[in-house]
């Protein structure tokens, strides 16, 4: 059975999106990217360090033709700042996909819902393919879809925490009501969280820290890839209902007495 995954008309082979931050070194990062078999990589935009112009720029190590790039607007605290970053990104000619990420609180890094909605609406008008990172609020996710988000990306828990899915009930409602892909972004800790999200019916997973800071990033990337596939198959297969009491798997007649 075909199980196509498309965002904004682009067909993706993998439902796993991988971040490029926090790896110990470029070798670890490349090994993780290879192992993940991802099609989509995320980046951030920052000022060049003018005192160290040869400082490692992320794209030096990555084959630009192989991936769909999803740069983010991290560092933006308002819609206006996010729009500015998106325009800078587009000027590279690398991608017109943009992950709107607007965090106004450094402790929680929770997305600012109002600014996120404003930025999404504006960037859609400017022709970007917009994938907003958002809190797991079903009404907000609907609004993001209505203003033209190509996919909506609720967090499982705060960025970098590895706490997993804090509110599976909200996530289920978001999935039920959505007409665009729903991607869980942020808070994933291990393969278990990925399977849980995929079994709920999300269309994809975006993660970074769980792989980058694992003891063996490449091995964890493999685990995440397999978890995405296992969770997706399990979701499509349709799980059994949970029962309170046992139910014998060989029937209750014809016992040897």
């Amino acid at each position: 059975m075909s199980d196509l995954f498309k965002i904004a008309g682009i067909e993706l082979n993998s439902r796993l999106f991988l971040g490029t931050g926090r790896y110990r070194n470029a070798e670890d990062q490349n090994a993780a990217i290879e192992a993940s078999q991802t099609d989509v990589l995320t980046f951030a935009v920052r000022r060049v360090n003018l005192n160290e112009p040869n400082e490692d720029a992320i794209l030096q190590h990555i084959d630009r033709t192989r991936f769909q790039f999803l740069p983010n607007t991290s560092g933006a605290r308002t819609a206006e700042e996010a729009v500015r970053i998106a325009r800078l990104v587009r000027a590279t000619g690398l991608s017109d996909w943009i992950k709107v990420e607007i965090c106004a609180n450094d402790k929680t890094l929770m997305p600012d819902p109002i600014e996120t909605l404003k930025a999404t609406e504006q960037l859609v008008k400017e022709g970007f393919t917009v994938l907003p990172y958002t809190s797991d609020d079903p009404i907000l996710c609907q609004h993001l879809e209505e203003v033209g988000a190509s996919a909506v990306m609720p967090g499982a828990s705060p960025i970098g925490t590895g706490l997993g899915i804090l509110n599976p009930y909200n996530l289920s409602i978001i999935i039920e009501d959505a007409n665009v892909p729903i991607i869980v972004d942020a808070g994933i800790g291990s393969a278990k969280d990925v399977v849980e999200a995929m079994e709920l019916g999300v269309d994809g997973i975006l993660l970074n820290t769980a792989v980058a800071e694992a003891e063996d990033p490449a091995k964890m990337a493999t685990a995440m890839k397999l978890a995405v596939e296992a969770g997706r198959q399990s979701y499509l297969a349709g799980r059994i209902q949970k029962r309170r009491y046992a139910s014998a798997s060989s029937g209750t007649t014809g016992y040897v007495e």
């Binding site: 971040g19 490029t20 060049v48 112009p53 500015r84 000027a91 970074n208």
Partner: protein
């Protein structure tokens, strides 16, 4: 000539157009985006884009992120 580049005041000589500035910082072959006074300037226009006293310039690139 005084310019604000990436938030710091810089005093630079022999910078007439934006591409001169990019060369000063040895960024010619890098994937860098330039913004002058809030406007993104396309790389194809760098050679003809005049730089003048007091301009605020941002030179940005991609870094790792999630």
């Amino acid at each position: 000539m005084k310019l604000i580049v990436n938030g710091d005041e810089q005093v630079l000589e022999n910078v007439k157009v934006l591409s001169d500035l990019v060369t000063v910082y040895k960024l010619d072959d890098k994937l860098v985006v330039a913004e002058v006074d809030g406007q993104v300037i396309d790389r194809s226009e760098w050679g003809g884009f005049s730089i003048s006293e007091g301009m605020t310039i941002e030179l940005v690139h991609f870094v790792g992120g999630g």
